[in-house]
């Protein structure tokens, strides 16, 4: 075996090792990518109590033109208290649809605590109710309202 031949065998060995490492590398990366796409594939995350990481748009509490974008609630004193205490179980739409007096809201909160598992609002209750009666006051409707927001269009008979 001459020197040149020994060198060639040596190079082949190195080449094989490199190829092996490269192949392992490709498989590992491939596996990782698969795992990222299908996180349940290995069954590590099957526990129901684990925290899911949910991607969400940045700055979810943006306010534009006086409206809290995420909930549609008006920006005023007490806004975040209402967002954090009144939009967990139900939508803010249920809040803004309803127009009540202080007494009515306090009774509704009591009903939610008695039957719907609402937590104790403590000293925040007054601020929350103030926000609601100030920003969403009842509107007088009488016995029948005038038809409003009519969307006029030409009807061809």
């Amino acid at each position: 075996m001459n020197k040149e031949e020994a060198f060639r065998i040596h190079v082949k060995k190195v080449y094989r090792i490199l190829m092996l490492i490269f192949t392992l590398f490709v498989f590992t990366i491939g596996g990782l990518v698969y795992y990222i796409v299908n996180p349940d594939s290995l069954g590590f995350n099957s526990s129901k109590e684990s925290v899911a990481v949910i991607p969400i748009e940045v700055d979810d509490d943006r306010i534009e033109n006086g409206i809290h974008l995420k909930t549609g609630l008006k920006d005023a004193d007490g806004l975040m208290l209402v967002v954090n205490n009144c939009t967990n179980c139900h939508s803010s739409k249920l809040v803004t649809q309803n127009r009540m007096s202080t007494e009515g809201w306090n009774a509704t909160i009591k009903w939610m605590q008695e039957t719907q598992n609402l937590w104790d609002l403590g000293r925040n209750q007054e601020s929350i109710v103030n926000y609601l009666v100030t920003n969403y006051p009842p509107v007088g409707k009488g016995r029948r309202m005038v038809l409003t927001d009519v969307d006029w269009y030409e009807l061809e008979n």
């Binding site: 700055d59 995420k70 967990n88 739409k93 009807l155």
Partner: protein, 406 residues
């Protein structure tokens, strides 16, 4: 620290990061809450609804139709209102679904698979009008609490299933039976597994009617999930809340059923009339049974402008709870004069009836077409909002559309 507590704490603090503020009293929140901020869905795609439907509430889902969407004689799914008290059930397997009949007044408790219900009992199909007890709530003054339905919380689809009566007779009912109460598998808004969302029902005579069915099909297909797949109790003519969705158990009771939304002020009106805003004790409230007479002009859509000298064809539907509509009228002068429309007989009892007419307007200008139905007991729809009640039920005031002639 127990793992559960750790997870809860980390969940809450990650909410704080996501929402940008601490959840006040968040530690008192039950496990399993997903703050609404983290939910985003398109209800129209999700439930196959017409994009012109109006979403009143997205948690729980409450969606109503606009009147012009209800023009079909048999309401398609795309125009059917959605009223939910809780969160939608997940992962329903129709192969393992069972219905259990129990309660004080059954001779023996009995359970059926869906396949058994379908094979053992005769299948019946009916068009049934189902209207939310709170349809029209938005017109009450002072305002009444709850989803502010306008006019679109009503539909009349075709339902197929087996008669509840046939099933109850197969089970064997004691003579002391008074009421049936359904049980469903939806989830309470608080995610508390021990809390039942809604469990209402009806007195035995209503339960034993031909048209009171345990439906497994709507408009000839499997019932959509949002409307009660795989099994829904359908009791036409009564508040829609009697037609329980996702029903897996029916209790035959020896007293008036006392499940959630049967008690307090839910689906009840003052037994004796009261002044607007007046307080009523719970014991002075009576359970709503048959819904009142009502009608909707479904064509044309409000806001039509027509040329002078042309006549206007209108059409719509009328219904009267347990009764039949015997007369349909319209007025274009705010009730000074009424003219009759043509009204068809119902395709079966408790189905809404179709009316139509042609209107000529005397001169150019702004008009409102008002519709008024009269039931077989002689009760007609009022032109103004009827008796105020704390929860804003049973508003059957005349429907009206705006028309311009020029």
């Amino acid at each position: 620290m127990k793992r559960r507590d750790f997870v809860k704490k980390t969940t809450l603090s990650s909410f704080a990061v996501l929402i940008g503020t601490e959840l006040v009293f968040g530690s008192q929140m039950l496990e399993g809450y997903t703050p609404l901020a983290l939910q985003k869905t398109d209800p129209f795609k999700l439930f196959d609804k017409n994009p012109e439907m109006i979403v009143l509430n997205d948690k729980p889902w409450n969606i109503e139709a606009q009147t012009h969407l209800l023009d079909d004689k048999i309401t398609p799914n795309s125009s059917m209102f959605v009223r939910n008290n809780g969160l939608l059930p997940k992962a329903i397997d129709h192969r393992t679904w069972t219905l259990t009949i129990d309660g004080e007044s059954v001779k023996n408790e009995k359970t059926y698979t869906l396949a058994e219900l379908k094979s053992k009992f005769e299948k019946h199909t009916y068009q049934l009008t189902i209207e939310c007890g709170g349809n029209g709530r938005n017109e009450f003054d002072p305002p009444a609490k709850g989803n502010q339905w306008t006019v679109g919380a009503v539909h009349c689809a075709s339902w197929s299933g087996v008669r509840l009566r046939d099933v109850l007779e197969d089970v064997g009912i004691k003579s002391n039976a008074v009421y049936i109460g359904f049980h469903t598998i939806d989830t309470h808004l608080s995610n508390d597994p021990n809390k039942e969302v809604i469990s209402r029902g009806c007195p035995m005579p209503k339960a034993m009617q031909d048209e009171t069915i345990l439906a497994f099909q709507m408009n000839g297909k499997d019932i959509p999930l949002i409307h009660g797949y795989p099994l829904r109790l359908v009791a036409g003519g009564w508040p829609a809340s009697v037609s329980g969705k996702w029903v897996n158990r029916i209790s035959v009771r020896d007293k008036i059923h006392d499940g959630p939304k049967m008690t307090g002020a839910s689906y009840k009106v003052p037994c004796d009339p009261i002044a607007p805003g007046e307080k009523v004790r719970d014991e002075d409230m009576c359970i709503i049974e048959s819904m009142p007479v009502k009608s909707l002009i479904t064509y044309p859509k409000s806001g039509a402008i027509i040329k002078k000298g042309t006549s206007l064809n209108i059409r719509g539907h009328a219904w009267a709870g347990e009764l039949e509509v015997i007369k349909m009228e319209y007025s274009i002068d705010f009730g000074s004069t009424w003219k009759t429309d043509t009204i068809e007989k119902p395709s079966n009892r408790l189905a809404w009836q179709h009316f139509s007419t042609t209107i000529d307007f005397p001169k150019p200008g702004y008009y409102e077409v008002w519709a008024r139905a009269t039931d077989s007991n002689g009760n007609a729809q009022p032109m103004i909002v009827p008796g105020w009640n704390p929860k804003g039920y049973l508003n059957n005031a005349s429907h009206r559309i705006a028309v311009k002639v020029k």
